[in-house]
Symmetry: C2
Subunit: 244 residues, 2 copies
Amino acid sequence: MRPQIVLFGDSITEQSFRFGGWGAALAESYVRKADILNRGYGGYNTKWGLFLLHHLFPLDAPTPPVAATIFFGANDAALLGRTSERQHVPLEEYKENLRRIIQHLKKCSPSILVVLITPPPVDEAGRFEQARSMYGDKAMKLPERTNEVTGEYAKQCVELARELGLPSINLWSKMQETEGWQKKFLSDGLHLTAEGNAIVHQEVVKAFNEAGFSAQKMPYDVPHHSEIDGQNPEKAFQLQCPAV
Amino acid sequence: MRPQIVLFGDSITEQSFRFGGWGAALAESYVRKADILNRGYGGYNTKWGLFLLHHLFPLDAPTPPVAATIFFGANDAALLGRTSERQHVPLEEYKENLRRIIQHLKKCSPSILVVLITPPPVDEAGRFEQARSMYGDKAMKLPERTNEVTGEYAKQCVELARELGLPSINLWSKMQETEGWQKKFLSDGLHLTAEGNAIVHQEVVKAFNEAGFSAQKMPYDVPHHSEIDGQNPEKAFQLQCPAV
């Protein structure tokens, strides 16, 4: 069977197969090499994600995933006392939840490649505009997320990766290196534009490559069509797909 | 585990996760409901596809796919005596190969929903332009595929679906209903533009819906975040993800 790469996270993962999405782009990068499974759950934080672990990644799975991205924090970083406080997870608990998710995946498969992704930056003005467009005058007056607080979550995520010797992508920092990141990479102050998706895709491919998990090095599951002799096709299939 | 939908075919399936691709769009349509697995093999015809059946769809698979698209014919219809003749499969053999593919899938899972897709139309002028841009004066002088011959393959595909009582998508006819289909839907006279991909996506969703396999009717695998009580999250997970 084809190796599986799982994308575990919140809405930014769930939406990753929309037009120009980073999940779809990853599926194209690993086409004929690996299956990309979307396990994104809009609105979820790490605390709720923990409930899914045994369901999504049973310990007795015969073929556990070979690689996974863990991409939470945008909801964990929602502020207490604001409109999204239901999703808030305290900073230290966020880090411990991430650790438990990683431990579980490693228990499923000791050799799994885990890449941690921090939440993207937050454009507070973009969040306000989005809220006003949906709720008009009833929109929140105070931000439910701030870029500064989300940055603290990003920091914990990167720190945990360093502690555990795992690759990580500091999307919060990376995106802010580009002028105009607020509108260039974010569609509503939180979710990604096609250009924002392209950054995630590029960084994930880079992290996978650096960890020795590059699509170029993976074998094709079956012969490339150019290897098939039109007169004598069975020859090309003997090794990988022997006649049954 | 999440139900699987397999896309089995040639390059038009293999490329279906590129920017704006119909496979990615289908993954978005079935997000959190089903996994879309890309089993597209560029250059393949039905004859070569037969060699893959036991490899891709083992008869003893514990969880066979719930649905599949079979999308071959663009290469089978390559003409004898022309540059792509290696890929040619005679018309009657094409139909019989499709029948064998369907039989195999039904053996894997008697309840599987199989949707047949005909090859898209061929824009011969577009094929020439593509060949000239790649090979200059050495480009073929005679078309390796014609729209007329590909139409005969499309007809056999639809006829087989009717014989077997399966849904089918006559892409060859459907696309030609729109004026300017040559450039609107095809990028090089054979492969799909984003707009061509959108047609395939729309028709596949329609065929799945009409067969009672609509994403709207499928349950979420785990609770929607709005059902989770921030103070008492375990309650929402009791049914689908009980504590281990």
